[in-house]
């Protein structure tokens, strides 16, 4: 008889919200935001947020980098700053 196993979906959910997981994702987002702010010459025009998605059942942790001010939004429209900053979040 074939062995059977059952996925522990709650376990996956907990791994996605584990502090080390969040730290890795936050570091990536902050690196991209820092690069974008450097390129734009702003202090915090580009900011990050970090939250877990709904448990349906994935609940993936999500970090984002946004244009938080009108100046940064204009800068991004003119210079594509966010896209040009993506490499700063690359994991080697």
């Amino acid at each position: 008889m074939a062995n059977q196993f059952k996925l522990n979906l709650l376990g996956f959910y907990l791994v996605r919200k584990a502090p080390k997981t969040i730290q890795v994702l936050d570091d990536i987002a902050k690196s991209i935001a820092a690069e974008a702010n450097t390129r734009a010459g702003s202090v915090d025009g580009y900011r990050t947020s970090s939250q877990q998605g709904g448990s349906h059942p994935d609940g993936r942790w999500r970090t984002t980098v946004i244009t938080a001010t009108a100046d940064s939004a204009l800068d991004n429209s003119r210079n594509n700053t966010l896209i040009r900053s993506l490499d700063a979040g690359r994991q080697t």
């Binding site: 204009l74 594509n80 896209i83 040009r84 490499d87 690359r90």
Partner: protein, 131 residues
């Protein structure tokens, strides 16, 4: 002994990409910068980072493609046409570059350009592996 002593320089990805698209999208102008005398439709391309494969022989640059037209519908259509041409250009040679596979990163989206208010801009991003 297995090893690579010297690596050849990657071909110019942006120069070859502009040339490739200019040939495939004619008569729509394709360039790195927006033309000073702006036609009704035009495309700009820029290289905005990317990487290379682990062995270092294939470059995987990230490109941003910007499609300008006088109306949103025309700009979107131009972007979709460009996307089809990019996919069709896989595994082809242009200039001194071998274009390998194309991977869409960000699909076409409306992205107004404050510097060119007379036109609508639709933008997409993608990685085109080249060696």
């Amino acid at each position: 002994m297995i090893g690579i002593g010297t690596y050849p320089a990657h071909p110019s990805a942006l120069k070859n990409m502009v040339g490739l698209l200019a040939s495939r999208m004619s008569p729509v102008p394709v360039s790195q910068d927006a033309p000073v005398d702006r036609p009704n439709t035009f495309i700009t391309v820029d290289r905005v980072g990317g990487s290379e494969t682990a062995h270092g022989l294939i470059s995987t640059p990230l490109f941003v493609y910007q499609c300008y037209a006088l109306t949103t519908g025309a700009a979107e259509t131009l972007a979709e046409t460009l996307l089809a041409e990019l996919k069709s250009a896989q595994f082809t040679q242009y200039g001194d570059a071998q274009f390998i596979n194309f991977s869409l990163s960000g699909s076409p989206q409306n992205f107004p350009d404050p510097a060119i208010s007379s036109h609508r801009r639709w933008q997409m991003t993608g990685v085109f592996a080249i060696n």
